[in-house]
């Protein structure tokens, strides 16, 4: 008991206290409790576009990441020559921050960047990928940067999950004539469910927190919810609205996490 006491005290101080005061702040105003902060938040022209962008990004990004990560993990498991080098390189983005990832891809997508250099050298017109009136390409740039950065996390979790599955099951299925896709769908994926589940929860919650990628790539042209919190706090100096936004982010993350848990639990308890 003595051993965990410091951690409990510390966590309560740094999680409990700010959370309570954060909630108070979000509802606080010059004269007592109010929802004015939320109204102001909702009236901000950037707010709804940031919500839309965040959701769109998550909905498109998560499936791509899971398919890619699964493919990567299966490739690694097939033990190609040099697989340890591949594993190293594929895992590097795991330790790259979203700000750094944004800056890395800025070298590619900026007007006089590498992508346009390639286009120019094959004789095509350069494109302003990150211009504010070019929403689709801006979205693609943010999407690619995020897929690049965050797929590694899913990849590592899936590799860990694959390691814990005995190869016998798959070989047995193979002996009985199951092809590659059958084995993947009926044997490997069900056994991977716990890993995929944690990866899914973790990735979605983290995806809500993405903001610096978009900031580094597009400035304010592609607002994301957490980026808006940052803008309200540092740019507009309004801590109350920033708290309100933070609360929205928290509520959405919590709802998603609980939703996933409910959804996946119901399914996984049946076979047991």
């Amino acid at each position: 008991m003595l051993l965990i006491a410091p951690s409990i005290v510390f966590m309560t101080l740094l999680f409990g206290w700010p959370m309570v005061s954060g909630i108070l702040q979000a509802f606080g105003g010059p004269e007592g409790l109010t929802t004015a902060n939320f109204t102001r938040m909702g009236q901000d022209p950037y707010f709804w576009s940031s919500v839309g962008n965040t959701l769109l990004l998550i909905v498109v990004m998560i499936p791509i990441q899971f398919v890619l990560a699964l493919a990567m993990a299966l490739l690694i498991r097939a033990k190609p020559r040099g697989s340890s080098v591949y594993f190293y390189i594929w895992a590097i983005p795991l330790a790259v921050s979203d700000l750094a990832a944004g800056l890395v891809w800025l070298t590619v997508f900026t007007d006089r960047g590498y992508l346009n250099s390639v286009l120019a050298s094959v004789g095509l017109e350069p494109v302003s990928w990150l211009a504010y009136d070019n929403y689709a390409s801006m979205f693609m740039a943010v999407l690619i940067a995020e897929v690049w950065r965050a797929t590694s996390l899913v990849f590592v979790i899936v590799v860990a999950g694959l390691q814990s599955i005995p190869k016998d099951y798959e070989e047995a299925a193979g002996v009985f004539g199951a092809g590659f896709w059958d084995r993947l769908w009926h044997v490997t994926l069900p056994l991977l469910r716990p890993s995929l589940q944690t990866a899914l929860i973790l990735r979605t919650i983290l995806a809500f927190q993405t903001f610096a990628v978009a900031l580094a790539l597009t400035g304010q042209n592609f607002p994301l919810v957490v980026g808006e919190t940052y803008r309200w706090y540092t740019g507009l100096q309004d801590a109350n609205v920033a708290s309100a936004l933070a609360l929205v982010v928290m509520a959405v993350s919590m709802v998603t996490a609980v939703g996933y848990l409910k959804l996946l639990k119901d399914q996984s308890e049946a076979p047991r």
């Binding site: 020559r81 750094a100 960047g113 979790i157 798959e170 903001f211 933070a246």
Partner: protein, 294 residues
Amino acid sequence: MSHATTNKATAPAGRPEPEVDRRPLAKRRRNRILLQVGCILITLFMALPIYLIALSATSSRAALQEFPLSFIPNNFSLETMQTFLQSTGILGGLINSVQVGIFTLLLSLIIGVPAGYAVARFAFPGRDPYQLFLLFTRALPIVVLSVPLAQLFLQTGLYDSVLAVVLLHTALALPTTILITSSVFLGVPRDVEEAARIFGCSPVQAFLKVVMPMAIPGIAAASIFTFVMSWNEVLGASILTLNQRTLPAQVLSSLAESPLAYRFAGGFLLVIPALIFIFFMRRYLTNMWGSTIR
């Protein structure tokens, strides 16, 4: 047998005809090639951007103005990096970042290792809620903490100091530290500890002399992880500081009004620790993520 192991990376291949003997071999070779092609494609996607930012950051300003840009490092120069490092706030930010990282690491070890040990060894009352609490805090977005903490720190005079960021980062890293260390301690057999007790060690001695040495590699992994988390965290650090920026916070706050060369150099400097970190950690990565998250 060979059928079961060869066509892992490709679509279902046709049924092997009995009369042809060489087919499986050819198929095996084809699959190996396809496997390598897949690996190389993904490696290109993962490594090329890192190469490009390294290239940009080590090109001279004049070379960065050229268009189309060259993909080959033919005019290597440290000019861009030097200019970046000499810009206001960068060197200070670098020092702050390292300081914050190290103090966060130490503080989260001091608080987290005993807790991890307790979770691994003792069935204390309320262990399950405690673990649930840790999972919950892990899921909490940083931004929820940062804004109220900034207000609290303003009142207590901690605002805009290294300590403020250290406290926030420790709070963020602590759940992970506890979970990783507890899984590390679970890997140290209880018998060893009991043997040490029988030979006359006190509980503390048994822990320090027997358990710790066996747990050190895993704990080192956890600490590097903490350091990198702190190095990468940008939102909280930018909200909690004004002049004592960490490196990412400094880069972020001057993003809008800085030239491209500055951003490339900043991006490269931020990526370097990732290269080193993953290199040393690559063996531990699957253990860490595999065992701790569940």
